[in-house]
Amino acid sequence: MTHSGMPHRLGDEPAPDGAGDAPEAPPWRPPWPRRDGHRLPLRTRMAMRIGGAVAWLSQALQMGQGAMIGGRLMLALDPGALRRLSQGRLTVLVTGTNGKTTTTAMLAAALSELGEVASNSSGANMPGGLVTALAQSPEAPLAVLEVDEGYFPSVAATVRPGVAVLLNLSRDQIDRVGEVSRTERAIRDALHTLDGVTAVVNCDDALMTSAARDVAHPVWVSVGSTWQETAARCPRCGQPVTTDAAGDGAGWGCACGFESPRPQWTLDGTEIITPEGGRVPLELRLPGRVNARNAAMAVAAAVTLGVPVDAAVSRVGSLAEVAGRYRTVRLGTHRVRLLLAKNPAGWAETLDLLAGSRDPVVIAVNAREADGRDTSWLWDVPFERLRGRSVVASGERATDLAVRLTYADVPHVRLPEPWWAVEMLRPGHVDLVANYTAFRELVIRC
């Protein structure tokens, strides 16, 4: 089966002339048949059953990562499981360094306006996690999958997505994923082989724009420039990228001719400007500018797939937490807000978010394989901005962080166990910021 019968909003057809006078779009109907689980080959069905049992068992034993273990086993039993489980659905892949999990959750919420959505909402974003998510919702006609940027090419070749949502690329876990320019090149090549794919792209990110430059159906979304250090150079030639005088991300270019495309969607403060020029306020329960950016990407993708813009904005706005992130939990006399920051770009956003308060901060840093084994990135985070606050260095690499804080002139104590760190602080509100595997452990235990 192919995805040739796309919803009418897909593709690069221009918006109807005189959009204001146009009749309402007809109620949306999925152009693909409902999935029928019985048509899956016996081998895949058996693999689904065994993999599901293992995922349940590993969760029951509090081993964590149930999603990953079950899916990995399923793939071992049936290497074609990912392809077979994604057949017959319209699949959206969401990738990028930062914001994948939140954007995926937002988009899945918006698309549930149309029908059941399979999604790896836990953030398990490698092939095993994708298989688990698809197997859990075998009937869902839609799938929204967060994919690790390094795995995007192989996953895209397997699931043949109808839509790719491309957020941003910056260095992260560089010893595992490799250099970002290579990642960009690999995503670009992968998109090239997907006929008819629609790419919803953050066009303020030069690397993702470069990756999507030649796709047949681009939807460019301007969400404002974020942390630009990695992209300060043209991904095509290495010369400096210049932004316009305002420097607000409303356009950039390079002497070689590579430049930002004209966006169809624009995030302007807390409003999004639609392709028709309408302004729709975002009312988000999730905090910070970073989530306004994630929401703009999710809304643009959802509307491209046929969700009315008001419904998309409303569903995206009602999301209060994502895979445990932003959740506030009670621990004795403390209220602890859980935040994830796993690289300098994520930390730049997190420091903005923290700037509004004087509450104590516990920072948990691990350096397992999924985090990247090298903690050098801590020196690219301006922790100097935490001066004057109570800070606890925590996590398996608390000592690496403590040395960084010392050189940043940020007084701190060091305590590797994050929950103990919270308990030793004065009662009240605490922000607990953790990187990837440290965060995963926190969420399992609360």
Binding site: R171, I174, D175, E179, V180, S181, E229, T230, A232, R233, P235, G238, Q239, P240, R373, D374, T375, S376, W377, L378, W379, D380, T399, D400, A402, V403, R404, T406, Y407, A408, D409, R414
Partner: protein, 239 residues
């Protein structure tokens, strides 16, 4: 240089060669001077101004291949660094920065490119990328303790007769030739160690500062840095 009133530490092209946290080396140098009440200043040298020739220490970091080529072209066109070396400035070059200061290095295009020629060293591709913790026993004449770092590179660097290794590899890959790691040539030090290398190895930081200031520095031992060294050295030896 004798006792400059204010020590100037140049961070060279961080937007090109700043992929692995190596800006931390400049942070460490400046702070270790300030904590000893020596006036110090960090100067970020970016691609819109020529490299100043009058700084006391130059710190260059690692970066991706396309950035590495852009950086070497720019440093060849604006030779402030080479002029500074000519009058005895101290240089710490890490990873891609180490490679481009040699006589030549291989790019991802497979071609050899000429470097700045400040080291007698040639870098060719390593058969398999070197990634992981590394421990180095420094050359005895340097008078510093074992070096710990994290290496992540695809270059094999062969030193010529004009250059001496920074040390010998205990665990890890390093230069990929003769068990050597890094280079020392005059007051220029090259290494593959990230971490950043000066955060994990305060002895090396103070050695560079001694060269740059011509002073004997007061001892400065940080308990957390010592703990970090123990943790990383134990971890590497356990493997």
């Amino acid at each position: 240089m004798s006792q400059p009133s204010r020590v100037r530490v140049a961070l060279v092209l961080p937007e090109l060669l700043g992929t692995y946290g190596d800006r931390g080396n400049a942070t460490v140098l400046v702070q270790r001077l300030r904590w000893r009440s020596i006036d110090a200043e960090m100067i970020e040298v970016s691609g819109d101004t020529p490299v100043p020739a009058d700084c006391d220490i130059y710190v260059i970091g690692g970066g991706e291949d396309i950035a590495q080529l852009a950086a070497v072209r720019w440093l060849q066109a604006h030779p402030g660094l080479q002029q500074a070396v000519g009058r005895g400035a101290v240089v710490l070059a890490v990873c891609a920065g180490f490679q481009i200061l040699g006589t030549s290095f291989a790019g991802t295009d497979g071609a050899m490119h000429s470097g700045l020629g400040l080291f007698d060293a040639i870098t060719r591709p390593l058969s398999r990328r070197a990634i992981g913790e590394i421990v180095v026993e420094p050359a005895p004449g340097l008078g510093i303790r074992s070096l710990t770092g994290f290496e992540n590179h695809g270059g094999a660097t062969q030193l010529g007769p004009g250059a001496a290794p920074l040390g010998r590899v205990v665990t890890g890959i390093g230069n990929g030739f003769d068990g050597a790691e890094g280079v020392v040539q005059g007051r220029i030090v090259g290494t593959y160690l990230h971490g950043p290398v000066l955060a994990r190895n305060p002895d090396l930081a103070d050695l560079l500062l001694t060269w740059a200031t011509g002073r004997t520095l007061d001892p400065l031992s940080l308990e957390e840095t010592e703990t970090l060294r123990q943790e990383r050295l134990q971890h590497a030896r356990a493997r």
